[in-house]
């Protein structure tokens, strides 16, 4: 009896520790987001969102940085979406497990693990220098596109795998070719999942800093970009610049908080949409 009690006591203690670990994680998310919300909210207003910076970036808004991040993210998706979905279609619908597929998967896993700063170096060497695109929206988008490619492949493949076998069999039984089956039955059925994949890619691309430091991002641009060969300002880089490189670091603190708030609002909103979409899909699949 005593022994039993002791074992129960150990269990209670262990569960307490396990619970606190989970609590620490939720709390750290809440503290980081809460702190930035608390300090940034007062500086975010319409002017801040729609005006360019003024007076050597100590006043004014962040409109060029918002626009730059939108351009870069859109460009990255244009690169990664077709390639990512097509790779996923091959892996899920055509490939037979074998050596080739194993190598492709290994490459995708390793690509996902390449540090973001190494992507930056690669983008610099290939797009900026070798292809002579210069530091530009084009170079930055291509670099970010390669960075989120594994994200899109992984999530799209999962979406394709979730389409029931019976759909495929029914389609083939009706005389459809493999391609007809894929693009009329499987892809439409997997569409919400592929959309989720794309959204996750957007969230990732929008927040990355290191890959665009050498390939696209400018400290400050006097005018808005007019072509894909122009440098742009971007939200993540703007935060970094304001927080570390200025001569007025303390003075621009509110601007830094506000820029960080805009960026996390953007990224968290995008991710929340993805999470909700996925939860809805899961529920539908259950019912």
């Amino acid at each position: 009896m005593e022994r039993r009690k002791k074992r129960k006591l150990i269990e209670a203690g262990a569960f307490l520790i396990v619970r606190s670990a989970a609590l620490v994680i939720v709390l750290s998310l809440a503290v980081v987001v809460g702190f930035i919300l608390f300090h940034g909210a007062s500086a975010v207003n319409w002017t801040f969102l729609t005006q360019p910076p003024r007076e050597a970036m100590t006043a004014g808004g962040i409109f060029p940085a918002i626009l730059g991040t939108l351009y870069l993210t859109a460009g990255a998706i244009l690169v990664a979406f077709p390639a990512g979905v097509a790779s996923a279609v091959y892996l899920s619908e055509y490939a037979r497990e074998g050596r080739l597929v194993r190598i492709v998967r290994l490459a995708i896993n390793n690509l996902a693990g390449v540090p973001s700063v190494v992507f930056g170096l690669f983008g610099l060497a290939l797009f900026v220098v070798f292809f002579k695109f210069g530091s530009s929206i084009l170079s930055g988008s291509l670099t970010l596109g390669l960075l989120i490619l594994p994200v899109i492949i992984g999530a799209s493949e999962e979406a394709l795998k979730a389409v029931p076998r019976t759909y495929r069999e029914a389609s083939l039984a009706l005389g459809a070719t493999r391609w007809q089956m894929i693009h009329r039955v499987v892809l439409p059925a997997a569409f919400p999942g592929i959309l989720t994949a794309t959204i996750l890619g957007i969230g990732r691309a929008a927040g990355e800093t290191a890959p665009i430091m050498f390939t696209a991002a400018a400290f400050y641009t006097a005018r808005l970009p007019t072509s894909i060969f122009d440098e742009v300002m971007a939200l993540p880089y703007h935060i970094y610049v304001l927080a570390t490189a200025g001569t007025h670091i303390e003075q621009t603190r509110p601007l830094q908080y506000a820029t960080a708030l805009v960026l996390i609002a953007l990224v968290l909103a995008v991710n929340l949409v993805a999470i909700l979409l996925r939860a809805r899909m899961r529920r539908r699949r259950m019912s």
Partner: protein
Amino acid sequence: MNASTTKETAIKTGFLVVALASIVILAMIVVFLFREGLPIFRKVSVRDFLLGRYWYPTADPPDFGIFPLIVGSVVVTLLSCVIAVPLGVLSAVYVSEIAGSRMKEILKPAIELLASLPSVVIGFFGMVVVAPTLQEWFDIPTGLNVLNASIMLALMAIPTISSISEDALHGVRRELREASLALGATRWETISRVMIPAALSGLSTAVILGMSRAIGETMVVLMVAGGAAAIPESIFDACRPMPASIAAEMAEAPFRGDHYHALFATGVVLFMMTLAFNLVADMIAAKYKQVGTATL
């Protein structure tokens, strides 16, 4: 009939070509990093580059020894693991074994959202909140140091460790858990002596990928590690991990000068380290392939 078979084959080949892109990209990363990095070894031997104690790339004559940078990376990565591994694994245990479905619905998105926080925001938080706090608590001249960088890196590694660990625990066969409980073990005994050992390969994959994430992370170490290119002697010393050095110096390094090549060579070293981490993780995952829904 024949025309449509040809079309089908063409389509299949098209998809195959796109799928091969990942291999091509990885290969091109290697080629271009080496192309821009190798020229430094005309000036410095590989040994002096890797083991040289001094990184003064802009001095005259310059010193290109990245040993302090490597040590910086290793130190912050290990220390961040000390923080992130228990938190990540235990939170996975909680989500997979203990939490009710409502708690799960809060926790899982929270962990995903933590993963999605941009690194520059975490770095910023480390600069403006954690650094002054550490400075005050420990009465040290600056809060931008190894400890701060490790805490911030841990925040970034926790979601990786937690979600992969959860998959690993989820993949343990039901029968094992049920058998243990049926034998009269408490839930904790079942978790600690049955579930965790059974999921060990998946858990080690989680830890390795978390470390890989931490060692390659750039903005955090750039903003909060303090930047001194010296071997840190305590956790309150500043350091300059490899990614920070690359990111901070590339803008000012003269194009295709020695410094530029040295930074690319640092990138090669960093790339090799993460590649090794990922290959090891992949090998463990392949060797102890779990049945069930566990995925890498």
